[in-house]
Amino acid sequence: MIQTVSTISLVLLAISLVFCAYRAITGPTMPDRVIAVDTIGTIFISIIGVFSIKLNQPHYFDSALIIAILSFSGTVALGKFLIKGECFDRDID
């Protein structure tokens, strides 16, 4: 039962990955792309959780932790770059 449910769940997560990849490629603005890449990282954590249930292998959470930390730090760095960077610094005040 858990095998079937985890397969269905992996399909649903893959569909949501496709949606986020569409928004990351054709996002109208730059923060759209940043938040799409952050969401892709978050969905990858969920995929790793379901995959470790499916394979009965609890050692995959190291990579999930690393993906969480890198996704957060990348999001904050890109946000700071968007606010204070050179080529995107249009009208702050």
Binding site: V5, L13, S16, P31, S52, G79
Partner: protein, 112 residues
Amino acid sequence: MIEILISILILVGSLFVLVSSIGFLRFRDIYSRMHAVTKATTAGVCLTLMASLLYFSSHGNGINGKTVVIILFLFITAPVGAHVISKAAYFTGVPLCRESVVDEFKEHIKKP
């Protein structure tokens, strides 16, 4: 019994993620997109990780500490990242959608 609980947790979590990414695809404003995608994706991922926590603790491996660390880290960092990105979007001049009624942050900026 615990298998049914784990299956329900996995299904509900992945449905949360799917619905939030549909909202991310369909909304017309970046602020409403962010509103859709940040909270619901965090909730869905936390449900999935809780399912894996239940699974590995019911199979005699004990409570996996990394899963708890990931859940706490996601709950702390997802609002921070969304706040930084929405502030960046507002300051780089991304407009609100046409149906927006009120913009309180603009009056707040022009005051000092």
